[in-house]
Symmetry: C2
Amino acid sequence: MTQDTEDTVRRSIGARRNPASQEAILDAAEAVLRELGIAGFSIEAVARRAKAGKPTIYRWWPHRTGLMLDVYKRFKTARAFPDTGSLRGDLIGFLDNQLVGFWKNSLCGTVYRAVIAEAQTDAGAAEALQAYQAERKAVARQMVERARARGEVPEDADATLIIDLVVSYAWHQLLLGHLEEASTKTEAVVDTVLRGVPGYRA
Amino acid sequence: MTQDTEDTVRRSIGARRNPASQEAILDAAEAVLRELGIAGFSIEAVARRAKAGKPTIYRWWPHRTGLMLDVYKRFKTARAFPDTGSLRGDLIGFLDNQLVGFWKNSLCGTVYRAVIAEAQTDAGAAEALQAYQAERKAVARQMVERARARGEVPEDADATLIIDLVVSYAWHQLLLGHLEEASTKTEAVVDTVLRGVPGYRA
């Protein structure tokens, strides 16, 4: 390895996030969110709590939305996608455990509302949210792919649309503050998406 | 009429919005939104443009979100809900003309994104948005009620859920900045909500 290559490697490793400090900052961010709420959440407050320099945090998270989204993701990845053996069961589990029920029973609903809000006026936040959504939906579509393999839906079933309809319903109820009511309708939502309106005839 | 009653009447009339000035302020608000965008929109900028006092505006619109929502509504009410003779046609028209297509081709998408964003952290904005949604959805449900009367859907069809699924899809795409793509999928969305996933078998 030439000196030049070594330098490049070293620089690129140095530029990567350091997992230990990253966890410490996420811990601090979570604590700030719990104690001060969205209104009191800032890179400054997190730096103070983490006993870290603001530049360290800004290097990894250029704005507060990205940091909030990473706190949110940490909770999310602790929850596996359901694999119940049927598409209906998987989608109901997805709504109950990953979306409506998840937001209703934790700080995460409030954090995610703030992330979505900030993505409406800040281009960086919008990009972070779009990337997160794309990544999550790719995983969610595996539920439809498994259903295809089982022959529950045809080869050409529109996995993107099925997942979008389920996620959209959850977002809408979150953003209107109607999670309580929505949590009683998850079966009806999934049954409508899969089977349509019962008794409908054109 | 006693003096007392007269005073009460006068006071309550005085407290009502004055339609002429209200229109002038909405005109000014729309002009500010067009010229300066969401970031430059403030009660102060609208007052300057309307040559009105800030207190006059604040008396009618306690915060900028309510004023933005009223500019948005003015565009909205100019568009009638579709009545095509079929629920499928009505819901596609609803998505195309009142939601996805409406937001895509006008300032309204940007304004509505800002309204939804502000409703996530401001209680007054949240109330205004909830009230507006409740009012609009009551009108939208008439599409399902007409379908009931025609025998297209059974008496116990869940009109709230049908409308919610359609509106939710549109909101989600708006908030992710995916209206362009969504505008090509409005028929597929309505067909899935009404008939389910083609070829689905549990």
